[in-house]
Amino acid sequence: MSAALTDTPGGTRGRLSRAYLGMVAEPWLYLLPSLLLIGGVMLLPLAIGLGYAFQEFNLLRPGAAKWVGLDNFQDLWADPQFWRALRNTLVWTGASVTLQFAGGLGLALLLNTRFHGKKLVQALVFLPWAVPTFLTALTFSWLLNPVIGPVPYWLSGLGLIEEPYNILGNPDTALWGPILANVWYGVPFFAITLLAALSAIPSELYEAAEIDGASGWQSFTKITLPFLAPMIVITVMLRTIWIANFADLIYVMTGGGPANSTQILSSYIFTTAFKRLDFGHASAIAVVLLALLMIYAAILLAVRSRLVRR
C-alpha cells in the first residue's frame, strides 16, 4: 500500500492479491484471540468431555481410562438417582421459568406505565440480578432457617406448614427453597428483556386500537401479546436452557440433599465429578442433558418459526 510500490511493471497483480489477502485476513486477525480461547477452553474440552461419556474414567480408581462403549449410559438407566434427578430437573426448570416469567411480565407491565420515582424503583427491583449467585443461595438458606430467618414462621402462619421448620431439611419440600431463590434472582432478567420489547411497540398501535373501540384487556391480548410472542418464545427458550444448566443455587443451598432429594441433572453432574471424581459417569449425564435440551430447543424453534410466519 505504499507509494514506492506504484508503477513497477507487472506489479498490479501482486499488489492486488496482497491487498486482497490483507482485506480477507484483517477481521480474522481481530477475532483470533477470541477464537483461540473459545476453541482451547470450551470447544476442545467439550469434545474431550463427550469422549469421557464413553470411557471408564474415575480419578479415585487410578489406571488408564478405557473405552467402554455405552456402559456408562446403561449404568445411568439402572441408577434411580438419575431418574430422580431427571424428574427434579423438570420440576425445577418448569417452576422456575413459569414463576420468573409471570413475575417478570407483571413487573415489566408495571414499569411500562408512568409513575413517580420510576428510576429509583427500577434500580431497586432489578438489584437482585446483580447479587452474586452464591450469596443469593446463602441468603435464602438463612432466611429459610427458623433459627435466624422469618420465612418458616410466615409459612406456618399461612398454614402451608404445620410448624416453623426448615423446608430445606424435608425431602418433600426442599426443592422449593432453591426455586424461591431462583425466582427472586431471575424476575429482573425477564422484566428487563420484556420491558425492552414492550417499549418497542409503537404507541400509535394502542391509539389506533383505542379509536377502534378496543378495551384495555383487548389491547393487551390483541396487540401486546402478539407483538411480544416471538420475543417471549426465544427468551423463554434460552432461559429454560440456562436454568436447566444452572446448578449453583442447588449446590450451595442443599448440596443436592437431603438424601439426594434436590439433585437435578446439572448438580448431579457436578457432585459426580467434584465429589466422586467419576468423570465417565458425570459426562454421560451431561450428554443426556445436552440431548434433552437440544430436542427441547428444536421444538421451540419450530413453534417460533410458525409464530413468526403468521
Binding site: 480477507v24 474440552p45 438489584l127 452474586p132 446463602l138 435464602f140 432466611l143 442433558l289
Partner: protein
C-alpha cells in the same frame, strides 16, 4: 370516553401497591442479610427473627476483615478484575471484526459462539480439571482467569459488537480521509466513543466472574488461592454457627457487585438482549 379521563383511583392504588410488593420482595432478603450482619453476637439467637435489631455493631465486620476473608476477597478481586480486563480487550477486537467487516465464515463463527452459550458448561468441568491438572496449574488464579475469560468472551463479543454498531462507519472514514491510519482512527475516534460500552462490558464480566463458584470449587482446593465464594462456602461448612460473621462477609461480597451494578444500570437492556443468554 373513559380513556380520556383519569384512570380509576382503585387501579392507581393497586398499581402502587403492586410496585411496593415488588420492591419489598426484591429488598427484603438483602435487608435481612444486613440486619444480621450488624446484630451483636449475643442477640443473634434471642432476636433471630425480629425485624429490627435492638442494637447494632460493626464487630462482625471488624472480625471478618481481620480473618482469612481478606485474602479470599483479594483473590476474587484479582481474578474478577483480570478476567474483566482481558475479556473486554479480546472481545473488543472480535466485536469490531463482527461490526465492521463482512467476511466468509462470519455466520459459522457466530453460530459457534451461540453454541458455547447453550451447552451445559458442566460438561467441560471434568476435561478442564484434567487439562489444568496436567499443566500443573491447579490451585492457581491464572487457571481461573483463563477459564472465566473464555466463558465470557462470546457474550462480551456480542455486546461490544452492538456498541460498535452504534458508531457510524462514516466517522472512521472521515478520520481516515483526515489523515489517520486505521489504528489512529481507532484510537482517536472509535475508542473514545466506545468507552462507555467498554465500561459496561467490564461491569458485566466482572459481576459474572465475581459470582462464579462451581469451577472455582473444582480448580481451587488450597486455602491461599481460594476466591471469595469458595472461601465463604468453606467457612459455612466448617463453622456453621457464626451467623453474624458470615452475614458480614456476605455484605462485603455484595459491595463490589452493587458498585458495578450501579455503573452498568444504563446498559442492562443492551447487555441482556445482545448477550441474550447470560444470567
Amino acid at each position: 370516553m373513559a380513556a380520556l379521563g383519569r384512570p380509576h383511583p382503585a387501579l392507581v392504588a393497586g398499581k402502587y401497591l403492586a410496585l411496593a410488593a415488588y420492591v419489598a420482595f426484591a429488598l427484603f432478603p438483602l435487608y435481612w442479610l444486613v440486619k444480621i450482619a450488624v446484630t451483636p453476637d449475643r442477640l443473634i439467637y434471642s432476636e433471630g427473627t425480629r425485624y429490627w435489631p435492638s442494637a447494632a455493631t460493626w464487630d462482625n465486620f471488624r472480625e471478618v476483615l481481620g480473618s482469612d476473608f481478606l485474602r479470599f476477597f483479594g483473590n476474587s478481586v484479582i481474578v474478577s478484575l483480570s478476567t474483566a480486563a482481558i475479556t473486554a480487550v479480546i472481545a473488543a477486537g472480535g466485536g469490531y471484526a463482527f461490526s465492521r467487516f463482512d467476511f466468509r465464515g462470519k455466520r459459522l463463527v457466530s453460530a459457534l459462539l451461540l453454541l458455547t452459550q447453550m451447552f451445559p458448561l458442566l460438561i467441560i468441568i471434568a476435561p478442564i480439571y484434567r487439562i489444568v491438572a496436567s499443566l500443573g496449574l491447579l490451585n492457581t488464579l491464572p487457571s481461573l482467569i483463563v477459564t472465566y475469560t473464555a466463558f465470557n468472551i462470546p457474550f462480551a463479543l456480542f455486546l461490544m459488537q452492538s456498541f460498535f454498531d452504534g458508531i457510524p462507519k462514516d466517522l472512521e472514514e472521515a478520520a481516515m480521509i483526515d489523515g489517520c491510519t486505521r489504528m489512529q482512527a481507532l484510537r482517536k475516534v472509535i475508542l473514545p466513543l466506545t468507552l462507555p460500552g467498554l465500561g459496561a462490558t467490564l461491569g458485566f464480566v466482572f459481576t459474572a466472574a465475581w459470582s462464579e463458584i462451581l469451577f472455582a470449587l473444582m480448580l481451587i482446593r488450597k486455602e491461599e488461592s481460594m476466591t471469595f465464594p469458595v472461601g465463604l462456602l468453606n467457612f459455612v461448612s466448617k463453622f456453621s454457627v457464626d451467623w453474624g460473621q458470615m452475614m458480614a462477609a456476605g455484605v462485603l461480597a455484595l459491595v463490589p457487585s452493587c458498585l458495578f451494578f450501579a455503573f452498568i444500570q444504563r446498559y442492562l437492556v443492551q447487555g441482556l438482549t445482545s448477550g441474550a443468554v447470560k444470567g
